[in-house]
Symmetry: C2
Subunit: 412 residues, 2 copies
């Protein structure tokens, strides 16, 4: 069961002016589920994206990058997004590229756009051909129900092994103008930074320059989706898209605007919530763990330690068992690959409890204290490397029987 | 259940002249199990060791290194080894060092040796103090039953979560003289190269120089224990010890001897068998997987790809389910971090079946073929990167419900 995560109320998801969403049940893999999503953007919208670094990246990812580059050059903006679940269209070679292109052409024709104004996204099983016909059959229905009010339906339409739909809204004032931000994400397994197996879409009606939007997406992804891991597997299809429909009537936000950081931080807050939601809904998750590493010489070594802890199946199964078998955390710190680490200096905390110092168990530590923290559904693991001022935070979940069940059964 | 691995017959384990083994039930953690082992070596024996690279390495590992260095300098050879299970004496700080030292002093006193002639080893739970009294109480019994015929009992005495005792013998001729090699290992979880959570002891009666023995251990470990992974966790206590009792009457083997490679290869063969046995008995293992990567530019990139595959929980759970969900393997190759990998050139084979080429599924591939291979207990995954002549092989096992059960319950 997801850890402290419930599906949002439809009414809590605020429409973003200029951004419409429509869905269909196209029987991509299973009957009676929304599995095709169309989003349309008002003319003049700015769109920015970051994508998986997996070299076996999927055909739609390659096409997204190409369409974003083409539309920037042709000054002919992105106007629609097309998402399907059930098939990742990854590991599909040249045929997969043609399939993704076909779906863009079809949607563009129906909407009166050029194909390069459409961004395609797929998520699901790898190494199987995209059933193009099913996607195309779903398009008329999806277009027919396009609406600014469809965020919850849209969040449901992009789910795969997710148990709970993930979406969130914020409202803020810029220059006295109300600005809306609404985003959604999906992802549950094959979750790792750079990035998770995830799709994320965040829209705002703010007036914001392309350069500022590009800066914001990189800032936000590094604080959010690049800080989560479920199983250490970086997927072929990860994509995060930030859209600004330019409808809110505020003075344009550029990178030098006094309000730049306000918008950036609000968008980042939504990104963090959506990223954490993926971990809370991690396959089989029963615990949500925040791994905070501080006192490092640089961020790189902090991340090495944080991910050594967050990836260790031994640690993740101990958390599942609520067993404060904390020596496993010391072992992970020890093999994280930090040069010349002085293990006698570092400190390990579980929640507020000092567990280890001077190279061993803290003298005041009692196992009951660790056991009490382990009972919680949200647990903080804090490591002070005591050799510098850098820090980082990573979110992950535990490793349960259900992780194995879900992944052993996923295709059946 | 271990994959194609049964406990050796006592009679199949050949005594090594000059090497005696004795055990005791010292109630280290559980009643009625052998948990303390003493080995003694004839005067003049050569001993070589390689140890974990974990920076949080255990007190006995630090002491082993120190004693090996001291005994080399004092030309006063290692004459005894002391192993306990139940407690790793790791993450125990200065107190842990004193505890390990105490056990060496006690055994040395009983055997009429100096403490630095004893190598200590511990395996078990991390972050708990070593119950020194229990170890000491076990020593007289262990010494009383010292015998060259005790290899199976010894292999049982070093087991922790192992289901099956791991030991093997070889006999060969050098200069017409019969040479015996017998070794044993333990390890089941927290298994990763550099090295596995493992203890390994291999003894031979061959006459061999210290330098040659040192060369052989590094060669052997790189072909064996450094090629296995169960869960990617490098332990605090890993140790492999190679001992040569110099009793066989052959002409001394040096690095330049014509027979050097014969002895090296025979010892390596035993090391490979013992290393593979650890994977076959991997916690919860139901499948034994050989991951072979070839056509790489260098060994480093081959290992990156092999370990990306061997560590992926998604791949390991798919193998557990006998589900040829092979896109997950392509995804792992894609995120392994190989620079400028051309995914359209590489080939992926499952057993003898070509699964992927040209960036996608091989046209002749049928899922039934993959499903048939997946039914086997031993499975070969072969990747041809098609960009060079380097290769590597890694052994691992699948990821089952039982892995979670064992590690969620280990301390209880």
């Amino acid at each position: 069961m997801p850890v402290k995560l419930v599906a949002p109320q439809a009414a809590s998801l605020l429409p973003v002016s200029g951004v419409k969403l429509g869905y269909a049940e196209a029987h991509m893999r299973k009957a009676q589920r929304k599995d095709v999503l169309v989003m349309t953007l008002a003319e003049g919208s700015a769109v920015s994206g970051v994508f998986t670094q997996n070299q076996f990246c999927a055909a739609p990812v390659l096409l997204c990058k190409s369409h974003l580059a083409q539309s920037a050059q042709a000054k002919q903006g992105i106007r629609a997004l097309l998402v399907n679940t059930g098939c990742a269209n990854a590991g599909t070679g040249e045929q997969g590229m043609q399939a993704a292109q076909q779906t863009c052409v079809a949607l563009a024709d129906l909407l009166g756009l050029d194909a390069q104004q459409v961004l395609p996204f797929s998520t699901g099983v790898i190494l199987e051909p995209l059933p193009v016909d099913k996607v195309l059959q779903g398009l008329p229905t999806a277009i027919a129900n396009l609406s600014e009010d469809n965020w919850l339906n849209a969040a449901e339409a992009i789910m795969t092994t997710d148990i709970v739909a993930k979406a969130s809204s914020r409202r803020l004032l810029l220059d006295g103008k109300p600005i809306t931000i609404t985003g959604m994400s999906k992802g549950s397994g094959m979750i790792h930074p750079n990035m998770a197996t995830m799709l994320g879409y965040i829209a705002t009606d703010a007036v914001v320059s392309q350069a500022a939007l590009d800066a914001i997406i990189h800032y936000a992804v590094n604080k959010s989706f690049n800080c989560i891991t479920v199983d250490g597997d970086t997927s072929t299809n990860d994509s995060l898209i930030l859209m600004a429909s330019q409808q809110a009537g505020n003075v344009e936000i550029t990178e030098n605007s006094p309000h730049f950081s306000v918008l950036r931080d609000a968008l980042t807050e939504v990104a963090v919530e959506l990223a954490q939601a993926i971990v809370r809904d991690g396959e089989g998750a029963t615990k949500f763990m925040t791994v905070q590493v501080e006192g490092g010489q640089d961020a790189v070594e902090c991340r090495k330690v944080a991910y050594a802890i967050a990836h260790s199946p031994l640690i993740k199964t101990a958390f599942f068992a609520s067993d404060p078998n904390l020596g496993r955390i010391l072992a992970a710190i020890g093999y994280a690959g930090v040069d010349q680490l002085d293990v006698s200096k570092l400190k390990l905390y579980l929640g507020d409890v000092l567990v280890a110092e001077n190279g061993g168990r803290a003298s005041a530590y009692r196992e009951e204290q660790g056991a009490a923290v382990m009972q919680e559904a949200e647990i903080l693991v804090r490591v002070d490397l005591a050799r510098g001022a850098a820090s980082c935070t990573v979110w992950t979940c535990d490793f349960s029987y259900d992780y194995v069940r879900i992944n052993a059964d996923y295709r059946s």
